[in-house]
């Protein structure tokens, strides 16, 4: 028997019992709809959350510090214990650790999938604005950060106009203190930043020295380009109350006196950094790059581990939602069993006739299995549509509520291709499973009994 003919026969049988087929298919559609809707919700929530995380630019970031010193300035993460041999003491601690110099940066940049490498320059400064004066920290921010996380939607003003502009961005917190609440008027105004600068080899008088390094106080005028909204990545990495262009910071020769290594390196020609930020192309690439950096002997840290945990959590949530959704589909598949058994009772004589004219057990079984899978496929397609419509409706209502509560709106339901395909395949498989008992019952019918059946 040809596949086309089996399908034709099966479709014809389904048409013969239109109402019953329609009701059973609707049952499957509701089941698939519930499943799709549930999982779609789980996926949607996950995408919302991870979307925000990814926008923050944290999950594609590895912070590298020199192994000997462990934690670098501006880095709040815990250092790798194994990479801090100081904790153990002894000869091991004296093993030469690689320097975080420009060569190291080049090596990082050469790692596969690495997008960008820049040093974390973070220095103590005194900021002066009118009568306001405060000791705080200034961080060098690369121009590429323009499109990342908190810099994308600044509450006021804009990003630095250029690499070496005398411009700065202030945190909301600092700006509020400076302007006494009206941070908006700060944009375009000038502030003065005082910082320590190394004067090694300079003929100028040295106001003070630390460990033989001559330092002098320098002051520079900066234009306030923008005010940063406090975001999820506040306080991590390059963010600090005052941000200036990275190249500007390096060009100025800003010295981070809080980091002995940086301080000591002023004695040599080779410039080293307390910490370096390595950005990879996609969050998935973090693991590989982090491993390679650690192999070079540096301490590296990323939030990837935390994300992996969250991902596992969401997988469990999806499974749970899928299970709840599957209950409806299981009930629907019992409906298929019922429909098929009824159908076989009604068509017993017909099955007998088919056997009498040469229909094989296999042919009969296939006809019924195809009938079941047609119900599964149709129900699956309708169910996805149903699940999508219900998801849209709930999303619409929920967003109105969220908006009224002042929360961020977004798609709470997501219907990726794998979910559509998976739901249809699951629906067909479950239908086949439901149809397998009735189908083999039909196939095993005794033709003589079947022919006598009224």
């Amino acid at each position: 028997m040809i596949a086309v003919d089996i399908s034709r026969l099966a479709a014809r049988n389904l048409r013969e019992a239109k109402l019953r087929t329609a009701l059973t298919t609707t049952g499957v559609a509701i089941g698939v709809g519930a499943l799709t809707c549930m999982v779609s919700f789980g996926v949607g929530i996950q995408e919302q959350l991870f979307g925000q995380f990814l926008k923050s630019g944290l999950f594609d970031t590895i912070t590298v510090a020199s192994a000997r010193l462990g934690i670098g300035p501006g880095m709040r993460g815990r250092p790798e214990r194994a990479a801090s041999p100081n904790a153990h003491g002894g000869a091991k601690a004296m093993a030469p650790a690689p320097l975080l110099d420009d060569d190291a940066l080049k090596k990082f940049a050469a790692i596969d999938r690495v997008r960008e490498v820049y040093p974390n320059v973070r220095v103590p400064v005194e900021i002066k604005y009118g009568s306001f004066s405060e000791f705080t920290a200034a961080a060098g921010v690369p121009m590429s950060a323009r499109n990342e996380g908190v810099f994308r939607n600044m509450s006021r003003g804009s990003f630095f106009p250029g690499d070496t502009a005398d411009a700065c961005i202030l945190s909301q917190n600092l700006a509020d203190r400076m302007a006494e609440g009206d941070a908006g008027k700060l944009i375009g105004r000038k502030v003065r930043l005082s910082f320590a600068s190394s004067t090694a080899g300079s003929p100028e008088a040295t106001p003070f020295t630390i460990g033989g390094i001559s330092l002098k106080r320098e002051e520079k005028e900066f234009t306030i380009a923008g005010v940063l909204e406090s975001g999820p990545s506040m306080g991590f990495g390059m963010l600090s109350p005052v941000m200036i262009p990275l190249n500007k910071a390096m060009e100025m020769g800003v010295t981070d006196i809080s980091n002995p290594q940086t301080l000591l390196s002023q004695l040599s020609d080779r410039r080293t950094y307390g910490a370096v930020t390595v950005k990879v192309k996609r969050p998935e690439d973090v693991d590989e790059a982090e491993k390679k950096i650690k192999e070079m002997g540096f301490t590296a840290f990323s939030l990837n581990d935390a994300m992996q945990g969250a991902k596992r959590g969401f997988l469990l949530l999806d499974l749970l939602l899928g299970l709840i959704g599957s209950i409806a589909l299981t009930v629907a598949s019992l409906g298929i069993v019922n429909t098929m058994v009824m159908s076989i009772l009604e068509r017993t004589r017909e099955i007998g006739i088919m056997k009498a004219v040469g229909g094989d057990d296999r042919d009969i079984r296939l006809i019924f299995l195809v009938e079941a899978s047609i119900i599964g496929l149709t129900g699956g397609l309708m169910g996805i549509l149903l699940g999508w419509v219900v998801g849209r409706a709930i999303n619409f209502g929920a967003n109105i509520y969220i908006q009224s509560q002042g929360g961020p709106t977004g798609d709470l339901f997501s219907l990726p291709a794998w979910l559509i395909g998976g739901a249809i395949i699951f629906s067909i498989l479950l239908s086949l499973l439901a149809g397998s008992y009735p189908a083999s019952r039909a196939a095993r019918l005794d033709p003589i009994q079947a022919l006598r059946h009224d």
Partner: protein, 253 residues
Amino acid sequence: MEITNYIEAERLHCVLCSVPEETLETVLEAFDVTKHYQMGQTVVRALDGISISVKSGEFVGVLGTSGSGKSTLLNLIAGLDRPTSGALKVFSRDLAQMSRHELSLHRRRNVGMVFQSFNLIPTMTALENVALALLFAGVPLREREEHAHALLDSVGLGARQSHRPRELSGGEQQRVAMARALANSPHVLLADEPTGNLDSRTAYEILELFAELNARDGKTVVLVTHDAALAARHVSRSVTLLDGRIVEEPRSL
């Protein structure tokens, strides 16, 4: 591709059907065939030791009263059931030894069945009912319908092919059933009281059709009937069953 080619092609694949010329002489041989049914506590001996032989081209009438076992015998020959004991050879192959699958192939290729109650599928047209027999043989739709139409034409129902069974008279329904029985060009036609639900005039016409297929096309026909007078006009010989045994030796008329 001609329809007969499809059927022949399929037949070649079937060991059952590759019938050597010399064995064509004897189409059917039964040796001490019994068929027992369990009915509650008692065992019903529907067939109690039947031995019979049918040669190619014969028109054999199986006579007997209701419950004599004649329908049971026909069902065994048709491969719808297996004997309890004994050997039942069709084209030298013992049906008792066949698997379910082999029996379905036997029903499809070797025999065509006609029933008292016609056994047409009520939701299908005459054409579809005839074509159904070809469907299981794997004949494509277009060829199936062409061949089914030709068969209906040959039984005088070409103009009624789009009618459903309930729109046809009893005689017409039985002609559709005969066209269906002929669909796969079987060598043997098995008829179980084919005239039981028909008036005498229609019954005569149906038997004439069997006789014609026997005489013109050389089909071997086994006809089960309780109407000895009706059968006597067409059959080449008859056997009579009583309580599952042959009471009258096969004799030529």
